[in-house]
């Protein structure tokens, strides 16, 4: 095909994003993300060897040797981990640095003996602008194959990732599957080096899968989200580097992807950190309001300090919350101290009712002694819903008093 270089780069970057994201998901789910990282670093000696032997950087020998050393590094991790007391992450680090060191030694001796022009220097950081059409074809072929395999083997693979014990007990060849998966990862990473570079491939194996898993537990959504986010960041990075040729496309791709990841983690509606924090703040406020209502219900004409003390909050905070409650019409000022409005009366009696019903339930049904009830009821009174409350009433057949002989305030009907 006769396309301009920029188009090739664009297609290549998007493809390698899609491909590595799909490949990274099993590694991520099997909690071996960092093994993928080690594997990516460990391709260096193999790829160098391949280029050295064949003289070309898109020769089949390069893929063969790169995949070979990648797999060897995983074998080394397993050997260290199983045959000594060194824990898995130490073993991963050792294997990574050993293979990478070997690769650096090969690389620098190759650069000294005149291989500088064949592009070996870009293996580590990647240089998408120098992508060859043949490399894009390899990526495309692998991507089609990956989609086909993922479709064909979806159920066994998912089982293998999510429930290895069950997979094993139903007769799946675990060791062979694991090695085939590692082989596939090594092949994919070798093919993507051109666009992203060796060090940053780990990002494309891990980050999209983490985004997908954070946003959805459904397998198909998870895969779709991961692939889309990686594919898009690849396309955007290629576009960016077409305008600003000096930048490293791989780094741009990872930066864009990570920005998206951190945005999702921080600010995604309902799931992100900010959203969760906001919900917990609202929840805390509701608890305090309910406690204030309850204290005002129990003792009329409490002084402000006494009320704040009983609710365990500072005077200033209690004042702030009472103002907001007055705005909601829950409480009103009466002869210089706060009292419940009729709406507040209703809400407060509901909180007290739930507290006392729960205490009765714990006492009668769970046989807890009377002095073990209060602390738990202090929490559960905020959690019970109307439905649960009426269930409790029915089960206990509307008791008059709670275990501490206090009246339970029922709604007048």
């Amino acid at each position: 095909m006769d396309l301009s270089n920029a188009v090739w780069v664009f297609i290549g970057c998007s493809l390698s994003g899609l491909l590595t994201a799909l490949t990274g998901i099993p590694m991520y789910l099997r909690r071996q993300s960092l093994a993928g990282d080690a594997l990516a670093h460990a391709l260096l000696p193999g790829v160098c060897l391949g280029i050295w032997l064949s003289g070309y950087r898109d020769h089949w020998l390069v893929y063969l040797a790169g995949t070979g050393t990648g797999l060897l590094s995983i074998a080394l991790v397993n050997a260290i981990h199983k045959r000594s007391k060194i824990p898995e992450d130490g073993a991963t680090g050792i294997s990574l640095v050993l293979f990478f060191g070997l690769g650096l030694a090969l690389l620098s001796s190759m650069q000294r003996s005149g291989f500088g022009n064949s592009g070996v220097q870009h293996l580590i950081m990647g240089k998408a602008a120098a992508m060859l059409p043949s490399e894009v074809y390899v990526l495309g072929g692998l991507f089609v194959l990956a989609l086909f395999l993922a479709w064909l083997l979806f159920r066994p693979l998912w089982l293998f990732c999510f429930d290895p014990e069950f997979a094993q007990s139903s007769g799946m060849p675990m060791r062979q599957t694991e090695w085939l998966l590692n082989l596939w990862v090594a092949l994919v990473v070798t093919a993507s080096i051109r666009s992203i570079g060796m060090v940053l491939t780990a990002a494309l194996l891990i980050t999209p899968a983490a985004i997908g898993h954070f946003l959805s537990f459904k397998p198909k959504y998870m895969i779709g989200i991961s692939m889309l986010s990686a594919g898009f960041s690849g396309a955007l990075a290629a576009w960016w580097s077409a305008y600003q040729p000096g930048i490293s496309t791989g780094a741009a791709m990872v930066v864009l992807l990570s920005l998206f990841a951190f945005f999702v983690l921080l600010a995604w509606p309902n799931l992100g950190y900010l959203s969760r924090y906001w919900i917990s703040l609202l929840e805390k406020k509701r608890w305090i309001q309910e406690n204030i209502l309850k204290e005002l219900w129990k003792a009329k004409g409490l002084s402000d300090q006494e009320l704040a003390f009983r609710c365990g909050i500072s005077d200033a905070k209690s004042l702030r919350i009472k103002r907001s409650m007055a705005q909601q019409g829950l409480i009103e000022k009466e002869k210089g101290s706060w009292a419940l409005s009729s709406l507040g009366q209703e809400k407060a009696s509901s909180v007290v009712r739930r507290h006392r019903l729960w205490e009765s339930y714990l006492h009668e049904r769970l046989n807890l002694p009377a002095d073990h009830l209060h602390d738990n009821a202090e929490i559960v009174e905020h959690l019970l819903t109307d439905e649960l409350e009426s269930r409790l009433e029915a089960i206990l057949s509307k008791p008059e008093q709670d275990p501490h002989q206090s009246q339970i305030p029922y709604k007048k009907s």
Binding site: D37, S84, A91, G93, L98, A210
Partner: protein, 283 residues
């Protein structure tokens, strides 16, 4: 050409790194070295850009702070958002590294930084970087003073509370039940590891720092059981591989940092094989 300054610097770097590595390997934080080593890059770039020189303390400060920030971010993602720890490690360090690379390729010319120096380090340039000429400090290269300072900091951190470090390394839950402030010790340890990575980075490169930390410590762990012995043995192994690697580099004309890691790795692999044989004989 064997230069005493390069040899002494690499000896000191290897020794300092192996002290930090001993604790990291024992604490199962081996891959944190990987994360820190990659993640200090954006700190370095920002430092270079702000200071516009290569020997400003600002650079050290920024880079070490980034290293520490990364470990905290990994911990934070894991604790508050339930991101699996290996995934958060991978996510955080790659994003920082990519940011650094992007910075280098965007502003590289101004900052006198290039990707080769990030990978290989520039051990051979060490003798030419000296502190303020004319003062007494001038008699040794900058890197030697840095590493000596670091050795002092390790001594200050470790010696007064040696039993605490021991219990944290081997049985962290016991240390917690004894009321020790484990988190504070963690931060102190990681801060020094981060500093040590930053000061070794220029000399030995980003990724190979990891080898200097993990390999001697892991090798020592294969042979001995007591923390004192492990520390002593890993320092000795680090020193030995620094010297051996330097000689090898001079002999086969490679970058000394690479050969040092390879020598150290050979020690490790030989120990692994030997240990396996001896356990087989016993069992």
């Amino acid at each position: 050409m064997i230069s005493a300054a390069v040899l002494i610097t690499s000896l000191l770097i290897a020794i300092n790194a192996s002290i930090g590595g001993t604790f990291l390997v024992l604490r199962r934080m081996g891959m944190l070295t990987d994360a820190i080593a990659h993640a200090i890059l954006p700190g370095l770039v920002i430092g270079y850009l702000l200071a516009e020189s290569r020997s400003s303390p600002l650079i050290t400060l920024f880079a070490a702070a980034t290293g520490l920030l990364v470990t905290l971010l990994i911990y934070w993602l894991n604790k508050y958002l339930n991101v699996w720890v290996e995934a958060s490690t991978g996510m955080v360090y790659t994003s920082f590294f990519a940011l650094g690379i992007l910075g280098v390729t965007l502003f590289g010319e101004n900052a006198d930084l290039d990707t080769d120096c990030i990978l290989y380090g520039e051990l051979l340039w060490i003798p030419f970087r000296r502190p303020l000429s004319g003062t007494f400090l001038d008699f040794a290269p900058w890197a030697v003073w840095q590493q000596l300072m670091l050795l002092g900091l390790w001594a200050i951190l470790l010696l007064p509370s040696w039993p605490i470090w021991k219990s944290i390394s081997f049985d962290i839950d016991f240390a917690r039940t004894q009321g020790l402030n484990v988190e504070r010790k963690n931060v102190q340890l990681l801060a020094l590891v981060s500093l040590s990575t930053v000061w070794s980075f220029e000399a030995v490169g980003a990724i190979l720092v990891m080898g200097f930390m993990l390999l001697p410590a892991a090798t020592a762990w294969l042979w001995v059981k007591r923390l004192e012995h492990m520390l002593a043995l890993s320092i000795a192994l680090a020193a030995l591989s620094a010297i051996g690697g330097y000689v090898l580099a001079w002999w086969i004309n490679l970058d000394p940092s690479t050969t040092m890691v390879l020598v150290s790795g050979t020690f490790f692999l030989l120990s692994l094989l030997w240990q396996r044989k001896s356990t087989l004989r016993v069992g």
